[in-house]
Symmetry: C2
């Protein structure tokens, strides 16, 4: 059976909990990144690996799990899982820079520009983005799906995707009025949603199959993720989350919580989880691990 089992059912994954499923996916992606950077000396390569450590590994998990749903092996899917983790890490390293969000702490450790310096952080972020495209370009998949993954990854992360969302976020800080709910929804769809949806849809694209159900799942999951993030910024504690909290409120920034109120934000996150789960209907119970991921995302404590 092997590759056709849910990640968590593998013999070495221990009792079937979602956390162990996620941990196993994270380890697979990180092993791929370590292999890709093996033998490369110097602070930039070190900082690249450091930046990929200690995250939840949610994006890589979505790639591996959607690939499994479409009958692909872990060997085929792991490079794309590593790629999306590298791309996500690049975005965090650059977002944390003094000229951007100016954060000292990430995942409970000093940010890259604090541990090394700003030049290393700029270069490590740059090279992590490059590595993401290199990993997908080199994945053991037929040419057409590899190209589909590459093109959609570029679209999701560029000026019309993630970078555009980050720009809207920065612009909002100096805007005369806080953002409205439709504006913040667009911002988040670009800033965090695009890469989560790409991850969820990756398996279908690898198989040359229709990605629309997984994209609907990814869009709902992405929005639930962001609402949960805003709830954590209000309710969470920095020691657990591993980064600064209450920054948005302190900055007077509009969030889903400030716009909807805490209770409505929670209700909205719950209904998005339902929406995400319903989108997976074509896959039947085989998609239960992805359903669990949607519940995990909305209920997470960090």
């Amino acid at each position: 059976m092997g590759g056709a089992l849910p990640l968590a059912s593998a013999p070495d994954a221990g009792p079937r909990t979602f956390d162990s499923t996620l941990a196993r996916a994270r380890d697979l992606a990180f092993a791929e990144l370590t292999r890709a950077l093996a033998g490369e000396p110097g602070p930039v390569a070190q900082a690249m690996l450091y930046a990929c450590e200690g995250g939840k590994g949610l994006r890589g998990f979505l790639v591996l799990e959607s690939a499994r749903l479409h009958g692909l092996s872990e060997v085929e899917a792991a490079p794309a899982a590593a790629a999306i983790e590298a791309l996500h890490a690049y975005s965090l390293v650059h977002d944390d820079l003094p000229c951007m969000d100016d954060d000292d702490l990430r995942r409970g450790r000093p940010t890259v520009h604090r541990k090394w310096d700003e030049a290393v952080a700029v270069l490590a972020g740059d090279a992590l983005q490059t590595l993401a495209f290199e990993l997908v370009a080199n994945a053991p998949l037929p040419p057409e799906p590899r190209l589909a993954l590459l093109l959609t990854l570029a679209q999701a992360s560029g000026v019309r995707g993630m970078v555009g969302g980050q720009m809207l976020d920065i612009a909002a800080e100096t805007a005369p009025a806080p953002l409205t709910l439709p504006e913040i929804t667009v911002l988040q769809a670009r800033k965090t949603g695009a890469l989560l949806s790409w991850s969820a849809a990756a398996g279908a694209r690898m198989a040359g199959a229709d990605a629309s159900a997984l994209l609907r799942y990814g869009d709902a999951l992405g929005l639930a993720f962001q609402i949960a993030d805003d709830i954590l910024d209000v309710e969470g504690d920095a020691a657990t989350i591993g980064k600064a909290v209450a920054k948005d409120a302190a900055a007077g920034k509009a969030t889903f919580v400030s716009l909807l109120g805490l209770e409505s934000a929670r209700a909205r996150a719950r209904s998005l989880v339902e929406e995400a789960c319903d989108a997976l209907a074509p896959y039947g119970p085989d998609a239960d691990t992805l359903r669990e991921a949607a519940r995990f995302v909305a209920a997470r404590r960090k």
Copy 2:
């Protein structure tokens, strides 16, 4: 005849000078970039186009001209030409940042972080890199050559290529002793050589042909280019070049001129031009425009 003619022989290119050949290639690549960013508002997209303006367009020219040598049309080659100009522009925008080379002037105009701010410069550079991969992933070429271009572009620009070279350059500034000739040759092969060689080899890769002659040409051209740059840093004037000069000498950095002396550096550049021209032997006189490019690179005044 159309697509099979050297770029400069096209009816609208005016008298056949290398400058007009280069200008036409530059216009083709820039038109492609403008199309790719059309309708995208906001400072990041503006800064991306700004960063691509006003350069020599040498890399895009090499892509177009090597593609012509292999029978490809401008329509097929223009996205890759635009991609390498976008990738080069990203590297300049990030290199100019205060935490890197801290330059205020580039191509005779304020650098992106001076005209906008550092956040826009980081994001515009990031999105230019993404755009480069998007353009190649979307090029009107068969899947295999597109993937070959993407993979080699990532390898040439990542931590084992351009970014690695930039890191060596930064490390050299605080090293106890100036770099030696072999060290500076490796540094420049990665920092500037890798992308020039990629550009020169692009046409062969698009055609699925042997790229070794064009790679040898590109390697020699790249080194000649860097030696010419070091000569300009000593002899050039900032108004003509459009950026600060004599920075390397002021910083006590080793350059080809400081290591070889001015006359030997000039002789080395001349012999590299010969080497580049000889590498093109398999193409016969059809490669004369590329030979002209090698002479242009070594003799340029900016």
